[in-house]
Amino acid sequence: MKVKYFAWVRERVGIAEETVEPPASVRTVDDLIGWLSKRGEAYAYAFETPKVIRAAIDHAHVRPDAAISGAREIAFFPPMTGG
């Protein structure tokens, strides 16, 4: 699946998007955050406070317990500040 990062999450991870293949044990958005956090210091820094991270699956907002199976694109970003 494709993973995208925005705003300071993107800056901390160091890339805007990538394709990942997490193991089957990674079932939810929260699981994915935990799995990504272990990929290196940059990821650990980006996801150091998981509760402030917002997520979207295929362009729709989701909660941390949302299942990721079948997702084409998952995005992680800070709370929004548009308007």
Binding site: F6, H61, A75, M80, T81, G82, G83
Partner: protein
Amino acid sequence: MTVVATIRIQETDFDIGQEIAALTKGRSDVGAVVSFSGICRGSENGEPIAALTLEHYPGMAEAEITRHADEAISRWPLTGLTVVHRVGRITPGENIVLVLAASQHRQAAFQAAEFLMDYLKANAPFWKREESPKGASWIEARDHDDAAAARWTKS
């Protein structure tokens, strides 16, 4: 008649008069147009700002605005609706966002415009980075923006 919202995300500025004319030109059923413009301030919490840079999530930003625009159209008897959101670098005094709601009577137009702005603030995937003499930093979300959006879901 089916109302289709006009939604644009663009780097360039917009002309409010031209956008209003697009909702009213050649029509006699529009009795009210409410216009909200969000403008870049020159200071934040007493600190001067040189510019804002707006980042967005292409695809999802359009989808979220469309979803909320469609909800506004289903909740209020509107004759037209326009949302324009700028991205990129914006300096103090420049426009950031425009919401226009048109209807036969003012109440629907006022309410729809306020509803859309409250929802866009809390749910549309845009992020502001500010440049100040101290350097650049991402603007933090405000809890009262979430509260403003939530009040529209109360029964």
